[in-house]
């Protein structure tokens, strides 16, 4: 069996994104540099009685962004449609990549749960024999990968990752390893998740939702703001990308994964699981902690930074241990909320954009950092700075942790 060859460099040759602050990379980056968040009163579920009422919703009507007709779109879930939109932008940018052989590796937490809920309510009213079952066909979490592969005629294989909020980060790391082992020639890797009642209610009953727009690492933080969206990267082996003359956006140079093995929903307080994931990514990328002799260091960390008391405290400790106390850190969830299974991909796209523009996104609404959050969190406004190597963190329920390392292309 071929093993992943770590000397094989992985090039990012395409990126696509849709979330509450934009329908594509240009809009998202414009929102970021203008410090414009996409968190508002939720419109998706009128009449429901949730304890909180904010969300970071993507465009309500996605029809205008889709490369498919209404009839085909009707068969897909909202999570699928978000995925198709982000995938389209990524594939267009990677123009010329041999996408017919591309694998699709997608992370999602909810899949078509929104449509599953609608089916469930329909069954309550009409009974199981009368409610059309076709509406629930897109509920499986395999559907976003299948839908993207179907729409763009991709034949390399499909893999769906449902590792809660770490799903998309894991999907990207997995795709990179399959490229390194030559089980795939090109990969479309990312994640997608739409808001649904179950997750909105669920995080509320866990008392993990901030009634105000989330303020990661802040002294007054009370939890997350739920969001939705999708992000994809096109990944190719570096030499293949160079040979075909592709424009390389960044190098995906490291992937680390770990588990806290601590609690079904809460991170371990000392952050050792997150630290292990970051150390894994650093080792693959041949990077060291700040001040470590002989190795390049990390210039910026795009944190998981959810805004919950436990995550932000544990992640801060993990970053200090793995990278060092001086590294600039920010949470882009302050712009577009926690997009759950898609977050690893959406934030990976933002991280690649940050490397390209040499501007670190800020943490919005960070008045005073909490006592247990002692890093440089880049408050309020973007920071132009030199960045060669950066990390993007994604952690999830069950203590699953993923960290991705990206390197600037000169």
């Amino acid at each position: 069996m071929r093993k992943p060859d770590l000397s094989t460099r992985i090039a990012v040759t395409g990126a696509g994104i849709i979330c509450s602050i934009g329908r594509n990379k240009a809009e998202v980056w414009s929102s970021i540099v203008e410090s414009r968040a996409g968190i508002r009163k939720m419109t998706a579920f009128p009449g429901e009685t949730f304890p909180t009422d904010l969300a970071a919703e993507a465009l309500a009507d996605l029809a205008g962004e889709l490369p498919i007709g209404k009839r085909e779109a009707k068969r897909l879930s909202r999570t699928d449609l978000l995925a198709v939109i982000a995938a389209k932008e990524a594939l267009e940018q990677a123009n010329g990549a041999p996408i017919a052989r591309a694998i699709v590796s997608t992370g999602t937490s909810t899949g078509g749960l929104l449509e599953g809920e609608q089916y469930y309510f329909g069954r309550l009213v009409r009974g199981r024999r009368r409610e059309p079952a076709s509406r629930v066909l897109q509920q499986p979490t395999s559907a976003p990968s299948d839908a993207v592969a179907r729409v763009f005629n991709l034949g390399g294989g499909v893999i769906s990752n449902a590792t809660a909020c770490a799903s998309a980060g894991a999907a990207i790391g997995m795709a990179a390893d399959f490229l390194r082992s030559r089980h795939a020639d090109v990969a479309l890797a990312g994640g997608s998740d739409a808001l649904c009642r179950l997750t909105y209610s669920g995080f509320n009953v866990l008392q993990a939702v901030d009634p105000e727009p989330c303020s990661p690492f802040g002294a007054t933080r009370k939890g997350i703001t739920l969001g939705e969206g999708s992000g994809y990267l096109v990944l190719e082996r570096w030499d293949d990308a160079v040979t075909r003359g592709a424009t390389i956006l960044a190098e995906l140079c490291g992937y680390g994964a770990s588990c806290d093995a601590h609690h079904p929903t809460a991170p371990i307080e000392d952050g050792r699981g997150a630290e292990a994931a970051m150390r894994g990514a650093l080792a693959e990328a041949r990077l060291g902690a700040l001040g470590e002799a002989g190795l390049a260091t990390v210039d910026y960390v795009n944190a998981h930074g959810t805004g919950t008391l436990l995550n932000d405290s544990a992640e801060t400790k993990a970053i200090i241990s793995a990278v060092g106390a001086g590294v600039p850190v920010s949470s882009s969830k302050s712009y577009f909320g926690h997009t759950l299974g898609a977050s690893g991909a959406i934030e990976a796209v933002v991280t690649v954009l940050a490397l390209q523009h040499q501007i670190a996104p800020p943490t919005l609404r960070l008045g005073t950092a909490a006592d247990d959050c002692s890093l440089d969190y880049i408050p309020h406004t973007p920071r132009p700075m030199a960045m060669a190597n950066v990390l993007s963190n994604t952690f999830g329920f069950g203590g699953s942790n993923v960290s991705l390392a990206f390197r600037r292309v000169l």
Binding site: Q138, T141, D146, N161, A164, S201, A257, H262, F397
Partner: protein, 393 residues
């Protein structure tokens, strides 16, 4: 060449708790498919499934922990416990967990929505929400044994466990972990059963034919839903390996719709060929195929055409899903059966098959097996194939 040893198998299957019971079940070659009593099938076309009915989770899990787990998590933790016991050793903290499940916690989501409707969005039980994520079983397994390596859950329908095994193998070969628990969980429930029935996916009585899973048989008319938990210990343990994971291949049939199998056998053949090449073998080295076939009209026809197009001489084909249904442990039982075949040097029977074109086994028999090809074709077009081998090299 690098191969991954499998030293432990844990199974919670219909009619078989533990690997020895599973061996006996496979040897007997009897189906475990029976009338469904767990939920009401009145008004549906199908009435049978392969269900786990004699699983007592408290024999495996402490009561306090068990209360925090849904059925999938209980199946996963119990199967992991059996696998670890079977491997004859203990697992170090740097062990990864890679779980596959075709549909995940559908029943837990249904129960959450029942509470949501009854009590309101603000008062549904948080414990149900915590278990509504597909990776809850993998999380509980990690917590139970303190396993801090990667922890990942794959949901690629019928291919879930092979994809999970493929990923775990890549991490073992990278030396990111010393060992891995690889496996799957699946629960049959009323919601899944009725939806599959409504879309015409399930086998049903038809004319003179009873309701049954008939993989590759001319009279087949659908799959039978199964459930199980199955976990394998890879790369650790002291037991003589059952066999080795030696190659993987994947592809996607671009003629497939998003929820059905396609009609072009090329991708399936390509995935089989890729797995064989990854194992550094050639077609004549394959001594048997543990097929994906589940009794579906389109899926089985596609796999048959792919096998016929690839192999000049088709090796014996074993279709295990007549024994324990489709989605059993996310495909984990099929992989476990192939490894047991290598260990025992026996090919298993394919109950439900009576008449068809492929050389499908009709009864369990001795065979010289060096390398077995395991196929999984998922609705939606995904294909993952694996080669499992008897020897380390």
């Amino acid at each position: 060449m690098s191969r991954i040893p499998i030293t432990g198998i844990g199974v919670i299957a219909p009619g078989a708790i533990g690997v020895e019971a599973f061996r006996a079940q496979l040897a007997a070659g009897q189906t475990t498919i029976a009338e469904v009593e767990r939920f009401d099938t009145a008004g549906l076309s199908a009435h049978k499934a392969a269900l786990v009915t004699d699983f007592r989770p408290k024999e495996f899990i402490a009561p306090m922990k068990m209360r925090r787990m849904n059925v999938l998590s209980r199946l996963g933790v119990a199967a992991a416990k059996l696998a670890i016991e079977d491997c004859g050793g203990t697992l170090e903290h740097d062990t990864g967990v890679s779980v596959g499940t075709a549909f995940g916690p559908v029943q837990t989501s249904v129960e959450y929505m029942q509470e949501y409707v009854a009590k309101g969005a603000a008062l549904a039980p948080p414990q149900l929400f915590a278990e509504s994520v597909a990776n809850a079983p993998g999380s509980h397994i990690a917590i139970e044994w303190g396993l801090r390596g990667f922890n990942i859950t794959i949901t690629q329908r019928e291919s879930s466990v092979l994809a999970a095994a493929m990923f775990a193998s890549s991490q073992l070969l990278k030396n990111n972990v010393r060992a891995a628990l690889i496996g799957g969980v699946e629960e049959a429930n009323e919601m899944l059963f009725s939806v599959l029935d409504r879309i015409g996916a399930l086998a049903h009585a038809n004319g003179n034919a009873d309701e049954a899973a008939r993989p590759f048989d001319r009279r087949r008319n659908g799959l039978v839903l199964g459930e199980a938990g199955a976990m394998l210990v890879a790369g650790g343990g002291t037991r003589k390996p059952y066999g080795y994971l030696s190659g993987f291949g994947m592809a996607r049939d671009t003629s497939a719709s998003i929820s059905d199998w396609g009609t072009d056998p090329t991708a399936v053949a390509n995935a089989m060929r890729a797995a064989i090449e990854d194992a550094e073998l050639s077609l004549p080295d394959i001594d048997a195929i543990y097929a994906s076939a589940n009794g579906s009209v389109r899926g089985d026809a596609l796999e048959q055409r792919a096998i016929e197009s690839l192999f000049t001489r088709v090796p014996p084909v074993v279709a295990t899903k007549g024994i324990f249904g489709e989605y059993a442990a996310g495909g984990g039982l099929q992989l476990a059966a192939a490894l047991i075949a290598l260990d025992e040097q026996k090919l298993h029977a394919s109950p439900g098959f009576e008449e068809g074109e492929l050389p499908v086994t009709r009864e369990t028999r001795d065979a010289q097996l060096r390398h077995v090809l395991v196929n999984t074709l998922s609705a939606g077009g995904g294909v993952v194939c694996a080669v499992v081998s008897r020897e380390a090299a």
